[in-house]
């Protein structure tokens, strides 16, 4: 699955688009940054409700391809422009974490 397959999902708003051709490895759900730090997969999609500057730092250091903010969580402009600089995609959705993770998973199967 490529990042562009996720960017087109109608449930998500694209806040930073990253590199659409990037190949996605896995989907990962976690809200504790301490755990995400150790477990988030390289080139993964990370679904979380934790939206702050440190979320981006963790994504950057773990080589996460795409952050999906569930439950309508947002990120401030500064952090978003940093994400764009680093080529990390950021999406926001009103859906709960499980629902959107499942939809992304299903989009990758088709």
């Amino acid at each position: 699955m490529k990042l562009k397959d996720i960017l087109v999902l109608p449930e998500c708003r694209v806040l930073s688009q990253g590199n659409p051709e990037r190949e996605i490895s896995r989907i990962f759900c976690c809200d504790l940054l301490s755990i995400a730090m150790g477990k988030a997969p390289s080139d993964g999609v990370w679904v979380t409700v934790m939206g702050n500057r440190n979320t981006l730092a963790v994504a950057s250091l773990t080589d996460t391809a795409c952050i999906v903010l569930a439950e309508g969580v947002a990120l401030d402009e500064d952090t978003l422009s940093k994400a764009a600089e680093e080529g990390i995609a950021v999406l926001s959705t009103e859906q709960p974490a499980f629902d959107i993770a499942l939809k992304i998973y299903q989009a990758g199967l088709s």
Binding site: D31, L32, L33, S34, I35, A36, M37, G38, S42, M50, N52, R53, N54, T55, A57, V58, S60, L61, T62, D63
Partner: protein
Amino acid sequence: MSEQLTFTYTIDGNDFTRAGEASSSVKNKLKMLGVGSDAIRKVAIAMYEGEINMVIHADGGVITVSVSDNDITMVLADKGPGIPDISKAMQEGYSTAREEVRSLGFGAGMGLPNMKRFTDEMHIDTELGKGTTITMKVHL
């Protein structure tokens, strides 16, 4: 690389949002030096956890990273309160972080265990009331 390269960073103890900038900078430098991505990931994760710990517990400190042909060494030195019980601090889930830190998604008691897990060697030198120096190595 025949010569040893050293980078030094001063960590600001008051700014939680900037924690991670030093690790990020090291990550980019190692990438430019052609270090393998597995080693870079290990260094970045271990150093970020250390950086966060310095901000949470020790009001900042100094991190020195040296790169040689065989390994990458990180030395994290702070003048914080010291660690009263290292074996407790090394247990996953044991944390003394403040509530405000927890609300940001940290303080789950994973910092030191992650640092150990992602490095090949780790040594903690701590003295109560004086500070802590942690030395970590990732082999290349």
